[in-house]
Symmetry: D3
Subunit: 319 residues, 6 copies
């Protein structure tokens, strides 16, 4: 077993870096990789969306959605609409640029059907559709804020929830990412989701369908898969997984993409920390799933699932 | 069950964004929210503290507490006091501004008792009290650094611990946040705690009372609740939860705030990764809690708690 | 038990901060700490490496390793080598500066053997050796990207994997950190590892030996210890721990450093989320370890390890 | 005669900076100055406007006045009004803050009549008045651009004129500064004028009254005094001075402020490079003043003023 | 005569800015201007080059031309070529973008002949031609540095000259601007020239043809016109003008563009401060022109031109 | 006469930049230059001081000299000494670095006498001497501010003078530059002087000796030479030159450096705009020099020098 096949470097007394050799060897490595990927004739620049750019777009949209809370500190009510309009104008242009990069990337793939000349119009249309969904996104996020305030006895005000709860930060990202996913730019959606993951430790696939009023408390380690469906007013604690049991394969053993494989969580379910819910099962309306429980079969509405037994064993003290 | 009630956007060939309509709809959404929150007459600017500002205050205080390790690289010993004094002067003024924002926000709430004209003096007094607790905070943090160095065989020096251990970064934030919490500015305290959570994956409520010499190793996924009490020289590994079992309610079913509901961890306890400790129970002096264990009852001093049985099952190989 | 031994601050009406007193008390706290560490005569500046500087070095190297994907957006193929050469020239000089700081720090420790005048040449030699290992690092990272693409049915292209998977971000950091660790600058290596931990929630000790094609999915909460050895094409999910069972001690009870104490994971093993693997055991070639399983004994090749029983209990609904 | 009364510094071998002594001596110097200015009890912070802040306000207003030429590159016509509104909202708030600082400073002077509590309302009213004069300022600047285009045979387009002629940059600053001067905030006006002076080498006192269509070509060294009056479509070249002959004094020999003491330049006058026009004289409509001419008496309309004789003397060659 | 036709603003007690009205009035002003310029149907974004972008291109090229003196401080000789190549790659791409903007702007003018689809190729070709003239520009600048060192007794080294003489800064800008002018992008050339003017007070039209070894000392107020021709090893002091006497007009009185109208200065001429040289005259080889002299006729080689007489008059002392 | 010997670039249809050829030709140009300067074996990095670094040092010192006027806006009186001490600590370290670069550069010149190992101590001693002259510099600058306030009827307060008069900005730079000049680091001094020149259009050689209370009004185009001596309470207007008549040469015709060659201006002299004073002459105490006058002989105390006659000629109007 060869764990780290880099030859042991031998430091010499020679201080010259001999960068030319390193540059050549790196070029060779790139060429080998491109050959292995059948991409030998790559021309043009970096044709891919940028996480940095998307990060600043999301930050801009965040301010436009909640101007007096997450916008610039000097904003006053009589300047709100100017700020919102200017910010959207700027950020949506940047977003159109990123959408264009993804559509062009897709159009270059073997088997792609979109003609290159249609891409610009397509990008503009998607941007417009995204823009017009922002008011609905704002209303959904309001429901999430209300849910967090209602669900956490420690919350003192809806403003505190909006400003500092990581679960809300995750939902702002997700509701934007999910809309991008639905519009057909899954790479942008994924980048936004990973930005959220890095900032909050909460990993929600942009494909997940989440109803109003989701409250994720603490959040670190939560994983929600691509085909999960979550109803209204659901509450989830840290380290909960809504995962797939296995990947459905077809007769030839190829993974069948897009098949529903993650749980359905009905309205008003509560899932405590560390619970693992796997497969296309349904947690019925109003059920409670206890901490650290492992669930792989559907449960009816109103269920209360806990561990089979306490595993606690106290061995005597050390005296 | 309606998971994502945003109407499916229909991309059209129309490139014009029609931003005016989006701006109007967003304004309507804000007004509906404010109406739902009885906040129709909001005037003035963003009256809430800012996570960005608090982040830079904490970074400044970090440098003032450990000038030769976390201050500016060009600092020399003969400039230490000037640097510390100037940094405190600057950061504490900024902190007073944030305290003022929180106190004013509190004074605006229905039922608030503090007269508006008393707020500025109150903010100044709190800032001064906070300033004078910094030396004690520094000494506590020294104990945490020493504990991490003593507790981790891989640690090569106290400097390494201070510079790169996430557990120490979390304690710097917590000891600042906890002091703010005790002084009566819980929103600032919470923001600082969430900054720490985002940076380290360690989620300590600012209300938690933690004695000297806490060492949190690895740390990702640790959650410590508001009324937890931790003694001296305790060691905690990743993904440990010190949580509440349930929320105490009064006769009318209202949650009773501020009731002790999280564990007491006595001196020199060690809690291994993934353990979950729930409710107002006590882990006696010097006890050891094994990995992934679920504990909901007090254990006497010197206990050694492990899982009931090994769950390991080896099914035969596939040859 | 004294949890927070800071005297309760008493806010007074006095607005003057009396910063002189705070500055003095902080100076006294520093002096006490230095006395406790036998460092009374400290002169010179901050002699330690800087996490900020290393963060920007890693970002620079990332771009030099993958110029058309993670380099500047305006880069075109005919400028690749200039960009790579210039970036390496700049970043490797900065790296040499950080190596120098660590070597000098080490040379100041009691019992250090390297003469001060040899340090500069040593730093240059290490930098050169590191530079020449970059092509091999790039090839290893290509194998990781390919593995993630092959292992995740949701991945649409290798570019998506490279740009947004946290598991890849963690491997870029680790393969750089591991090389620094092997070259004898463990503090730099640790800082790079903690940067990765903060960004991805994945905590890999820089000493861990990892073969080509590791795919860490989701990743939050993964911990991989210093002496772990991982073969080729291994797949690991979130919250997996490859940890030590206990610290080996010698006859006098001192921890024996550097002893192998973490698992060996052979080629093509898959470890599902939340599994805990402890001690110097071996997971045989091609084994599968189920979610949340606790493993403390070696398993033969081709094993399939799952939990002993389902702990799922459904208590009836609440009507 | 004592030209530089600093004692010759004597570099010593002593490397310690002894900063404490320097800091003390600087404090003493400040106290002596404040004593000499009867300002011993100064409290509060820096109560004066800031050149940096005004610089960025002017840059912002420049963009709001000419959004598609001097605004952000990514602006599109359908976002113009949002940009203009948002920029004005932001910059005018900042301007109000600066106006407040000047009014408060004035109110603190001995003999000031404005009650302190009236200052905030006064500042708001001035800001509003300034805001509503911006459209007229834009129209005046359009006339200046047109005049420069008409007057310079080298100009290729009005856009070139707007983007790069220093004379236009000077007029943008002046028309803003003059409005501030008229509104009663002369210190702000002066700061804006000096920003222009530093950027263009053109020194126009904010009090100067300048009609539409002024074209200053090249510009370096132009000085236009406080009470100068300039008509329409005037053209001025580099190093021209419109200055005062002497300061009018009253019976006690005190300078009488605000007396007209600079030239009146009627419509369509041209003044060539280096000409010096001094005193409250009038250059009649349509006159031409030659290069380097020194004028201290009024000239009738249609005059053509040149030097008395050519001073050119050719002394024989060097063979 | 109407000097400042803005109605006197009347500050009111009304604090509301009424920004909507200002925004509308500014929109109307823009529309009136566009109507007056026959530009009613303007679409698209800001189609003009940007002074900010060109400023940073020039700064980049400056570093690429003199890497070890004006490049980044950390550069070492073995990284020079990588730095130069990478910088050129980046800056020349940016320059191509600016050239494209100017060419497109020109192609939109009435009567323009270049078809829109040819513009991109044209821009690329111009960029390439510019790139290949950089080595010759560097050699010319070396001659200027040498001339300044030779001509100024106060100069201590060629490095001092290169780093801090404004005359050299002006020549770096001019030699770049002149090349852009020759290539047919006069707007870019003019912007670069005005950047130089703002930074140094030296105003050289990009059309001026200047031989090797020009030394401009002090420099403030120097003006050199579009068709001026300057030979080798010429020396010019502050406030010297090489200007036009009058604009040549054709039979209909229209200015005839591009006609030679500025002086020819032959090799090794010296022109002292404040001299004014006007018209298409020739200053013969090796001549000396005294300070403040006004020259409007050609002078033969070897001439020595001074003022006709000293104008100095001493009126008696003050007793 | 060969004005611009760059071959006319021929734009081709070829879009490839062929950067390799440009990089090679630039390398060749550098090598030719270094050969011509006998600097073929240059190793190491950029060994020269940096204008950028000195610019920020001067800005820092400016704040430390006038903390409540030019320091950070948030400064309060009780933090002044901390700010001053910290700023000096930081900026003087940076200054020591720049001094070191100049001393090392000097030590490398042929004929240099300072041994390389003495340079670091020398730099520290110079820095210390400079530090201890700062209080005297502050007092001199106070006299300049007072003089400007007294001398300009338009000045409303000493604060206005300090904040926005270019003459004061020039004196802050000059008094710092002159001290550096006296301490033996003329290159640093010159760089600071040129920063001032670029910012204000006032060009004062750092060698000029200037007594307390100099007021330079307007300032653009003022030039003051290296050996000029200026007494107390002198007033100078724009475009005044205090220059050299000719360079003194020795028997072999070599320029003799350091010889007094610029004017002596005694106390309370006033020099109006555009006057040119040349050579080592003396303007006696209390004299007045009129605008545009050319003076090359000493004048006794109390003189009043004006132009011989008015050159004004009015030719009749053009009708």
């Amino acid at each position: 077993m060869n764990a780290t096949p880099i030859p042991t470097p031998t430091p010499t007394a020679e201080a010259d870096l001999e960068l030319d050799a390193v540059v050549s060897a790196l070029r060779q490595a790139r060429q080998d990789w491109r050959a292995s990927q059948q991409r030998l004739n790559e021309a043009g620049g970096r044709e891919l969306p940028s996480a940095e750019v998307l990060g600043s777009i999301v930050d801009g949209l965040r301010g436009a959605l909640f101007p007096m809370r997450l916008g610039p500190p000097e904003l006053r009510p009589d300047g709100e609409d100017f700020f919102v309009g200017h910010t959207l104008h700027t950020q949506l242009q940047a977003l159109r640029g990123q959408i264009l990069l993804e559509l062009r990337h897709a159009a270059r793939q073997p088997g792609a059907s979109e003609p290159a000349e249609a891409v610009a119009g397509h990008a503009a249309a998607l941007t417009r559709a995204f823009a017009h969904s922002l008011p609905a996104i704002r209303r959904l996020l309001d429901s999430d804020v209300q849910a967090a305030f209602d669900g956490d006895p420690a919350a003192r005000s809806v403003d505190e929830v909006l400003i500092c709860y990581p679960g809300i930060a995750a939902m702002i990202h997700h509701r934007i990412a999910h809309q991008l996913y639905r519009l057909g730019v899954p790479l942008l959606a994924r980048i936004v989701a990973e930005l959220s993951h890095a900032r909050t430790g909460i990993d929600i696939h942009p494909g997940a369908q989440i109803g109003p009023g989701l409250f994720i408390d603490h959040g670190t380690g939560v994983v929600i898969g691509e085909t999960a469906v979550i109803g209204q007013r659901v509450r989830i604690y840290q380290a909960v997984t809504l995962g797939a049991r296995s990947f459905p394969v077809d007769a030839e053993g190829h993974v069948r993409k897009g098949q529903p494989r993650h749980p359905i969580v009905e309205d008003e379910v509560v899932i405590y920390a560390g619970a693992t819910i796997l497969g296309r099962i349904t947690l019925g309306h109003g059920s409670t799933i206890g901490g650290n429980v492992w669930v792989t079969r559907s449960v009816p509405p109103g269920s209360n699932v806990t561990q089979a037994s306490s595993q606690q064993v106290c061995e005597g003290g050390n005296t």
